[in-house]
């Protein structure tokens, strides 16, 4: 009964408020037409029908009750030093900053890609043949062996150490080569070829790894085709990166702007 009276009262108040628009006074609660439209559309999406008049009144009453408690709480300062409220407000402010960012145009994405081609370039594919030497030998002995191998006077099978490492690697990623041979081997291989492929069938070396000393030949690093926005998966990634970066910069510049508008005192 009390509840009903309250509703009746509030509904009355509601129409009064409509008649007297909000002038910013915290003691004036306005439930606008927009609010009501929103309530109706929420109701519709939940119940798949329009609310009855009684239901609508009830919903509006709820809104007013919430507003009463909220405003009373704020006026009592209950929102002060509440980390939960603070975080929520911070989050909203950040959303505002984020919302200031417009969708990037294709031209902007193109520019972004052009300045960072290497980031979006796929990994090069490694191909080579390797043997692990069975015997320990001096630098001079190794070079002599390499000459003999390349002249055909010594057979590679007769000097290698049996091990389960792949002898021929075809089109493997760097991480796959590293996984099998170790980081030291990959570094050694890259040093050796100095960005030029060796494809003359001649053994060369040495490349060292934790397994021992390797000789290699036909080393080829195939660079993947240039990244392009035609690739829709890549375009999506670039767009994400662009937006993430724009958000970061927007926040940074907002903070710089704000810190100029406030006086900040740190008492240590």
């Amino acid at each position: 009964m009390v509840h009903f009276l309250l509703v009746a009262l509030l509904i009355g108040a509601y129409f009064n408020f409509i008649a007297e628009p909000d002038d910013g006074d915290p003691r004036v609660i306005v439930i606008s037409e927009e609010n009501v439209t929103q309530i109706v559309s929420h109701w519709q999406s939940r119940w798949r029908r329009l609310p009855t008049e009684a239901e609508l009144e009830n919903e509006i009453a709820n809104l007013v009750q919430q507003e009463l408690l909220f405003r009373e709480g704020v006026s009592l300062g209950l929102d002060n030093d509440d980390s939960f409220v603070k975080n929520r407000v911070i989050q909203k402010t950040r959303y505002l900053v984020d919302a200031s960012i417009e969708d990037p145009s294709d031209q902007q994405l193109e520019q972004w890609l052009e300045s960072r081609v290497s980031e979006y370039q796929g990994e090069p594919a490694y191909s080579f043949e390797q043997i692990l030497l069975r015997d320990q030998m001096s630098e001079a002995e190794t070079q002599a062996l390499i000459r003999e191998l390349n002249q055909g006077s010594v057979d590679a099978d007769s000097v290698l150490k049996q091990i389960s490492l792949d002898r021929r690697i075809i089109g493997a990623s760097k991480s796959d080569v590293q996984r099998q041979f170790g980081e030291r081997f990959v570094d050694g291989l890259l040093n050796l070829i100095d960005e030029n492929s060796i494809d003359d069938g001649q053994w060369t070396g040495v490349v060292k790894s934790s397994f021992g000393v390797h000789l290699v030949r036909n080393v080829n690093l195939e660079t993947p085709k240039n990244p392009s926005l035609q690739d829709s998966e890549l375009k999506r990634r670039i767009r994400n990166d662009w937006i993430a970066d724009a958000k970061k910069r927007a926040l940074e510049s907002k903070l710089i702007e704000l810190s100029g508008q406030y006086e900040i005192q740190i008492e240590k």
């Binding site: 709820n62 009750q65 919430q66 408690l69 509440d82 980390s83 939960f84 975080n87 929520r88 989050q91 692990l132 091990i163 389960s164 490492l165 991480s175 590293q178 996984r179 099998q180 041979f181 170790g182 980081e183 030291r184 081997f185 790894s209 934790s210 397994f211 021992g212 998966e233 990634r237 994400n240 990166d241 937006i243 993430a244 970066d245 958000k247």
Partner: protein, 637 residues
């Protein structure tokens, strides 16, 4: 509005907000390039499992009650990014990166109170009504030490069953956890990248009657579509693992999904993990054995809280059986009970494999026919296992806590448990056709997996009756064509079983000392036995088996002043076709392989070098890291 908001419903509101911020991350650059597992990109699949995939099946994030309490602020996304090889800033502010990416990860946060400490910490104090929770809130907000004490109280309370009612209320808990779990599974699906990186859904089920550890990691084969239909099974109200198996059965039947469980830290179970009876003391029967064998095909045998393969009390003739026992074999998980040596038989995997043979004789089914893996059980969200890059058990002892090796551990200080007793161990290796949830899960299910204490040595094991030395050149094809891989079973034969073994060193770690075969069997009288055979080793010119069949120790080349060693004292690869010289066709048996690296420094040595302090005498400074394969069983009947 008339009803007051209950603490827990408020928490769910908090978590809802946390969920919102997680979603906003979707649009930033951390997003993996492949969406979910349903988009079916082209994944290279091989005819046989030719590649070994490395992973951690036991990792905690800030969603675990204790991990958050220990200070961990890294979420599941950080854990996934770190595991797949990206740089992540640790909670204590260090740029952390693995030396090499992992291929798969199971995030296994505790099901009990999933996300609860984080929710409590983030809740407004005003709304925390429960006295204990409010005291914890204050302690957590006061200091790091306070937060650590809360965590100790939580673990203790779980063991003694004295947790606040608000944490035990299943209805409100499951509502809160349900939301968190769905958001979590969404992240996993987003990071799961078939062919490149596998993100498994899972959780840890954590019963510990009287502080005796019965923990299991539960791992799903499925995506969110199925895993969202459940929430992680709590142990507080369901402390008997038989309840977990019933729940798993129900999950599989109602969703059509697949799930398995992996026991771990049997070393602090005080003999309960592999007991000769059911938990309630009644005898193990065929139904129990069948259910356990079905749902627990693999045991996590090595991790940060010690190694559970073997113990010198049980294996006095095995000079390497004490690895990772120190600090972990005197009292149980919470150190509320001492563990007398006569209980060890139920605590170590090798003995359990033998017990399995005995129980098989009694019931017709072997409940303990499990494969072996290692994992970290790290509570830092960082799946590290390298000695020189070890981020510790929890955030309280991360890599930049200078004297963490010497710090007494809150649980068990009285019994002499210190920081250095933590092992920088281990990882799980799976032989699979491709890097996908399906292929790797199936490798676990058929036990084609092995454990290492951290280094990534490649180990292959096949058993059969028709191998020749020539087959070594074409090992994989010959192995599958003429025999069974690790985890498999051999049928009865008159001929002695042959094991075809190859172990290749981790190119980023140390050379190999030796390969051993561990055999266990049951004789006609029903008595179980074990024997360790050295079958391949380095330096064969200088090292030979003595009259007792023992191989002299390999040279210790460790230079403690630099933290280095000399790989030339070991071998890059060891391989052998070995025939059991003591075969008895009537005895059910198992064989597994243990591979030892040459001696290398332990993680406290790297800490001492980095920060320039002396390690006390009793701190272990040199060890031989190792791999344990899953067994192959010979079935005489």
């Amino acid at each position: 509005m008339k009803r007051a908001l209950s603490f827990l419903s408020f928490l769910s509101f908090v978590l809802l907000l946390v969920g919102c911020s997680d979603q906003s991350k979707e649009t930033v650059s951390q997003k993996p390039s492949v969406e979910g597992s349903d988009s079916s990109p082209i994944v290279e699949k091989t005819e046989f499992p030719t590649k070994v995939f490395w992973g951690d099946t036991h990792l905690h994030t800030s969603n675990s009650v204790d991990a958050f309490g220990f200070g961990n602020r890294l979420d599941a996304e950080s854990a996934l990014r770190f595991a797949r090889g990206e740089e992540v800033t640790s909670t204590r502010g260090i740029k952390a990166k693995l030396s090499r990416p992992l291929d798969f990860l199971v995030i296994s946060d505790h099901s009990d109170g999933l996300g609860a400490t984080r929710a409590l910490y983030e809740a407004p104090r005003l709304l925390v009504r429960d006295e204990t929770l409010r005291r914890w809130w204050d302690m957590m907000h006061e200091s790091e030490e306070g937060s650590l004490r809360v965590t100790a109280e939580l673990i203790d309370g779980a063991a003694k069953r004295t947790l606040p009612q608000a944490l035990l209320d299943e209805d409100s808990q499951s509502k809160r956890i349900g939301k968190l779990w769905k958001a979590h599974n969404k992240i996993l699906d987003r990071y799961n990248d078939p062919g490149k990186f596998t993100a498994f859904s899972g959780f840890e089920y954590t019963p510990m009657p009287q502080g005796n550890n019965l923990h299991r990691v539960v791992m799903f084969r499925d995506s969110a579509e199925k895993t969202n239909k459940i929430i992680p099974f709590p142990s507080i109200s369901n402390p008997d693992p038989e309840q977990l198996w019933a729940w798993m059965k129900d999950y599989e039947e109602t969703t059509g999904g697949r799930v398995l469980a992996m026991p771990h830290n049997s070393n602090v179970s005080n003999g309960l993990m592999f007991a000769m009876t059911r938990l309630d003391g009644s005898p193990i029967d065929a139904a129990y054995a069948k259910t356990r064998a079905k749902y627990e095909p693999v045991v996590e045998v090595t991790q940060i809280k010690g190694d559970s393969e073997s113990h010198p009390f049980l294996s006095p003739n095995d000079e390497f059986s004490n690895f990772g026992n120190a600090g972990w074999d005197t009292c149980n998980l919470s150190c509320t009970e001492d563990m007398p040596p006569e209980n060890h038989a139920g605590s170590y995997a090798r003995e359990a494999l033998k017990r399995g043979l005995a129980l098989e004789r009694q019931t017709g089914i072997n409940p303990y026919a499990f494969g072996l893996i290692g994992s970290t059980d790290s509570h830092t969200s960082l799946a590290t296992s390298d000695e020189d890059n070890f981020y510790g058990k929890h955030t309280g002892n991360e890599i930049n806590v200078e004297k963490r090796a010497l710090v007494p551990q809150n649980l068990g200080t009285r019994e002499g448990r210190f920081g250095w007793h933590y092992l920088s161990s281990g990882y799980a290796a799976a032989w699979a056709e491709e890097n996908t949830r399906e292929a790797i899960f199936d490798a676990f299910q058929r036990r084609e997996v092995y454990a290492t204490t951290g280094p990534r040595m490649t180990v292959r094991l096949f058993a059969g009756y028709e191998f020749s030395a020539m087959d070594m050149a074409n090992m994989v094809q010959a192995g599958y064509a003429k025999g069974v891989p690790m985890g498999g079973e051999l049928a009865k034969s008159d001929a002695a079983p042959q094991l075809m073994i190859r172990a290749t060193m981790d190119p980023e770690s140390a050379a190999l000392d030796r390969v051993q075969v561990v055999k266990g069997w049951i004789d006609a009288e029903g008595k179980t036995h074990e024997k360790v055979f050295d079958v391949a080793w380095s330096g064969t010119d200088e090292r030979q088996l003595d009259d007792n069949g023992k191989l002299p120790a390999v040279e210790n080349s460790v230079d403690l002043s630099k933290g280095t060693w000399d790989n030339s004292v070991g071998e890059a690869e060891l391989s052998v076709v070995w025939t059991d010289p003591e075969f008895n066709r009537g005895d059910n048996s198992f064989y597994y392989v243990r591979v030892l690296e040459i001696p290398t420094p332990t993680w406290p040595v790297y800490d001492a070098l980095k920060y320039g302090f002396e390690l006390p005498e009793d701190v272990l400074k040199v060890q031989q890291e190792r791999a344990y394969t899953s067994p192959i069983w010979y079935k005489a009947n």
